[in-house]
């Protein structure tokens, strides 16, 4: 059925744009989409070879120059191609969905895992024998030289042991680098690349080479110049290729198109874009090259409906472009985002099941005067994302209390398509909280979702508004019950306050938690500091720094303190389990005495073995209040326990403190992607009745199957968390069966519920899976026929059939809320 899309009248110019756009995807976009989803992921070694050669032949040069040369070499030498029918061009590696290798971060895992890559239970990659040989050679050269090697070497024995124990995890930060960032697309589109070169040259000329800092700045500016020029040449390579293809092309229409692509490339390699097509092409090139330069993920696109809108509007008003064509350009961009890929070690893959790049596009929200920022392009973006139904981009909508019902209606229509988009972030919480942290008013209204659900102001913020080290709350809790002994590793990292069996009150248990969490909080920051130091020294990003304020004027990379703001967060996993464990012990052991301390201890130590153990487990599960049911008893215990971590965290700074940025502070975060599965896999049985080694609860969502009072109760429980202090994200997934929102009345009620959650309860985030349990079970059994089934895993979407069976089971087990 055609879907009528009507742009609202613009008051200032009284021009009505009224269009009917169908849901039908053009044959060529359909073909491009099909191609990208049917291409098997593979491994590309080109980047690895160029970087290794560049490093090897420039050993005496400063790291930053070496990296600039390596990037230049790669952009110059790598295979490029333009697929048939493409309007937006650019490729990350030698083939679509081929993951480049970043040996300077970590590479010895590859020879170790390469024979298993195509046999992985989820996120398999294909690799040729020839590439395997090449990788062995490359890995040999990088031995003891990688970020991973050097980062671990920077840590003391205790912190390395902590990482090995998996109570704290930070391996991904060393093997994957940083990112979790959005650059300043407003500036990129208004300055153009030559504008950046002028700015770099201006500051380079001021450098005082008689000072140590000046020497370092000189290297930085030299690296910037090499990198931006290399980027320009890279874009021009696509001009040449497009001309070459145009000359061979028989179809006159395509020939013309290729000519435009060529001229677009020439134009944007130097100047600011002049139209929508060029603007989108430049945005894509930037997005692409950032993901060739660095291995980090969650490189996000920011408020696309805002920075592209002037180009879109001008083209539409002048009749240079139709909405259909604009939509095709967007659709093509989504396919191109999907073609970018990343390979992670298996240890890290489990944390981000489905192999996502988390390239987030944010739309909606408010303008700086508080008015609704939704425009025609916002509608076109949401619509085109719905048409392509891909896992990239990760689409986020910024909710605010004056958002139009029509736009919310479009959001619900997209939710109904059942691939987990859009996620909602909430201006009503984020804006006041950011202002409170010292973010300036002119910046705060531009905040965007980064990666999954976390937020930052694009182009002003440093890396990792979330995604620093992961702290496993339940391991800490069990240590608190065992006088500090971590039974899994057999180590006592911090002597505790006693054994649970000797505690005489809930207060004593809470004090034990307080004492342990204080220690582990500090440890996460220590490990982060080591990781940050290693990244700063060994893998500085150059282009990424160029596109973030105020790196160029300060002469510093982001990691050295170049960004205007610097707020980061780690991830805490096992939130609901912590609350449920505290409540179960308080109620059943200390208040009602239904379970003795001895019984509980034996039950969890035996993983609820035997009839007695099983009985205790059922009592823990069924006779104690559970987080997610709007019960203050458990919700407030959880809040207090979490605050012990949060308050301790406020005592620390990042490594950029005193070096330029505003903030340099930590806040809490729960956007734990699929980390609840591997984090659960290292946790013995817990007093909430959870069996050993099974997944812990994900994000801030209730534990699977324990939220029995429906979605409003879940919202109420979640909103009792100190959300204004969990700016790294309060992740909440809800799953709805398709029938639950089939009628208009159901949709309206869902919108009302979301409005209440965001406006009244100041909820942070929510996203929906509209998939029936039956569908998931069928898909697990018969992956071939469900190839395009997409689910929200946590903060992002993934093709269900690419997930490991454990993650699939976990998704199936989560409560299906019935409306």
């Amino acid at each position: 059925m055609p879907n009528q899309w009507v742009c609202r009248q613009k008051q200032e110019d009284k021009i009505m744009i009224q269009t009917v756009i169908t849901d039908k995807v053009s044959p060529r976009m359909s073909a491009l989409r099909e191609k990208v989803i049917s291409t098997k992921p593979s491994v590309c070694t080109e980047r690895a070879c160029f970087y290794t050669e560049a490093y090897a032949s420039n050993e005496s040069k400063p790291v930053i120059i070496k990296r600039a040369i390596a990037l230049e070499k790669t952009l110059k030498g790598m295979t490029i191609f333009i697929d048939a029918g493409e309007l937006i061009v650019g490729n990350q590696s030698s083939q679509n969905r081929a993951a480049p290798i970043f040996p300077e971060y970590a590479v010895d895992w590859l020879p170790a895992e390469m024979n298993e890559l195509d046999k992985r239970p989820g996120d398999a990659f294909y690799i040729t024998e020839e590439h395997k040989k090449e990788l062995v050679r490359i890995a040999e050269w990088w031995k003891d030289k990688t970020l991973y090697d050097r980062g671990k070497a920077l840590m003391n024995h205790e912190n390395r042991d902590l990482l090995d124990s998996a109570i704290i995890k930070a391996t991904g930060n060393l093997t994957s680098g940083d990112a979790h960032i959005a650059v300043d697309y407003f500036k990129i589109l208004s300055s153009g690349l030559s504008g950046y070169l002028r700015e770099i040259t201006f500051h380079h000329n001021q450098v005082r080479l008689f000072e140590q800092e000046g020497i370092r700045k000189d290297h930085f500016y030299t690296a910037l110049t090499i990198s931006v020029k290399a980027f320009q040449s890279f874009i021009l390579r696509f001009h040449d290729l497009a001309i070459e293809l145009a000359n061979k092309e028989k179809d006159p229409d395509r020939r013309d198109e290729l000519a435009v692509i060529a001229s677009n490339c020439t134009a944007i390699s130097e100047r600011p874009p002049e139209n929508f097509w060029q603007a989108l092409q430049l945005v894509y090139f930037v997005q692409l090259v950032l993901q060739i330069e660095s291995n980090g993920h969650s490189v996000s696109l920011g408020r696309m409906d805002q920075y592209l809108y002037p180009f879109f509007r001008s083209d539409i008003l002048k009749g240079k472009i139709t909405e259909e064509f604009a939509s095709e350009l967007l659709e093509n961009t989504w396919v191109k985002l999907m073609s970018i890929n990343k390979i992670r070690p298996w240890s890290h893959t489990q944390f981000s099941a489905g192999g996502p790049l988390y390239q987030n596009v944010t739309i909606g929200g408010q303008k700086s005067d508080g008015s609704d920022a939704v425009n025609e392009l916002s509608y076109l973006i949401i619509h085109s994302v719905g048409k392509m139904k891909l896992t990239q981009p990760n689409l986020s909508v910024r909710f605010h209390k004056n958002i139009s019902p029509t736009f919310m209606g479009e959001c619900i229509k997209l939710i109904e398509k059942g691939f987990g988009m859009p996620a909602f972030n909430n201006d009503e919480v984020v804006i006041p909280a950011l202002l409170n942290l010292g973010v300036e008013k002119e910046d705060v209204y531009n905040y965007s979702a980064i990666g999954c659900i976390e937020i930052a102001v694009p182009g002003k913020w440093g890396y990792r508004c979330t995604g620093m080290s992961v702290l496993n709350f339940m391991r800490v809790f069990l240590a608190a019950m065992n006088d500090g002994l971590d039974k899994k590793s057999g180590k006592t990292f911090q002597k505790g306050t006693g054994n649970f069996i000797d505690f005489n009150s809930y207060e004593e248990l809470f004090m034990a938690w307080k004492q342990q969490i204080k220690y582990y909080t500090r440890k996460t920051v220590e490990i982060d500091a080591a990781v940050d130091t290693a990244i700063e020294e060994f893998v500085p990003d150059i282009l990424c720094s160029a596109f973030v304020d105020s790196c160029i004027s300060r002469g510093k990379t982001i990691k050295e303190g170049g960004s205007k703001y610097d707020f980061v967060s780690g991830l805490q996993v096992g939130i609901a389990n912590l609350g449920n464990s505290l409540a179960a012990i308080k109620k059943l052991v200390f208040e009602e005495k239904k379970i003795s301390k001895q019984q509980l201890t034996e039950a969890i130590e035996s993983d609820f073995d035997g009839k007695e153990g099983e009985k205790v487990r059922y009592m823990l599960l069924n006779f104690a209040p559970k987080y997610g049911n709007d019960d203050d008893y458990v919700d407030l215990l959880l809040k207090d326990a979490y605050l012990e971590f949060i308050n301790e965290l406020e005592n620390y700074h990042t490594t950029r403190f005193g070096r330029g940025p505003i903030g340099c502070r930590y806040y809490a975060g729960t956007s734990s992607i699929s980390a609840n599965v591997p984090n659960g896999a290292v946790v013995p049985a817990t007093p909430d009745g959870r069996k050993a080694w099974t997944p812990v609860a994900e994000g801030s969502s209730p534990s699977s199957g324990t939220d029995v009072l429906g979605p409003t109760a879940v919202f109420k429980s979640v909103s009792k968390l100190p959300t204004e202090k969990i700016m790294g994200g309060v992740l909440l997934n809800q799953k709805l069966s398709p029938s639950a929102i089939s009628s208009d009345s159901d949709k309206k009620k869902l919108i009302s519920m979301l409005r209440t959650f965001f406006s009244d309860l100041k909820g942070w985030h929510v996203q929906y899976n509209i998939v029936s349990r039956e569908t998931l079970l069928a898909a697990k059994k018969d992956p071939e026929n469900y190839r395009d089934l997409i689910v929200r895993v946590a903060g992002y979407c993934a093709f269900f059939t690419t997930l490991s069976p454990e993650t699939q089971d976990d998704i199936i087990a989560r409560t299906e809320q019935t409306l």
């Binding site: 009839k611 099983e614 009985k615 059922y618 009592m619 069924n622 006779f623 709007d630 009072l709 429906g710 979605p711 409003t712 109760a713 109420k716 009628s743 009345s745 159901d746 309206k748 009620k749 009302s752 519920m753 409005r755 209440t756 406006s759 009244d760 309860l761 409306l819």
Partner: protein
Amino acid sequence: MIFNIQRYSTHDGHGIRTIIFYKGCPLSCRWCCNPESQSFDYSLMFDPRLCKDFGECVATEVGGITPGANGLIIDRSALLHPGKLTNVCPSRAITISGENRSVSYILEQVEKDRPFYKTSGGGVTLSGGEPLAQGDDMIQLLRELRKREIDVVIETSLHVPWSQIESCLGLASLFLVDLKHTDKDKFCDYTGGDLKIVTDNLGRLAAAGERIIIRVPVVPGFNHTYEEIKAIVDFVSSLPGVNEIHFLPYHTLGNQKYNMLGIEYLLEGLNRIENTELTGYVNYAESMGLSAKTGG
């Protein structure tokens, strides 16, 4: 006595609502999907699939429960004080339906979703069982809800003395009234009730100017014929001020509960029907000037 408080209910009245399910009903409709709601006393529900043989129930000595070779043997006639079995079985193989809850407790639960009522134009629905057969507590709750400006919908069979209904007049924004049949014998046969009580009360309620929506459970073998539905629609369209009717298709989601309660399910084997099978009824009701739809 209540047996459930259900939040985020979207199909029993306008907006987002919390439903208070009262326990006890003067009728015992054969298709009833909440059979635990019929008794005015505690009901023991037993799901043998969940029984882990922990023996906690036997240990409470309420009588009537003995361990057998193939699991528990429950003699309901010998069961004294089933309420004592509340929260006894750790694995929830035995659950007790029925909670004596004070008005203030219910109000506390209801208040939890107040912000959702406000945004969506919702409130509380009093349902059951039969909410109008509950005596003073229910009336007191109703008055208190009104005082707190929380919208109330009453879902009822009207198979109660008029005096009960009278004390609710002017306090609810809407009555969702079940009208199951217009033939008194068939009505009695399938529900155990007296149709005249229902139709008389319905007439008086309509005359009192209350807003009413009629809900018709459509059950094959009972009223799923054009003639029977036509008779219901014709009766409804003759009522003053009543202009809306909903047809609710028979479903089988509650069948398992009969086994758990040890009650025979008389409609065993009857298949659920789809909304689409009721389109003809909707069309007829609309032709009679009623606003009509399927589902709640």
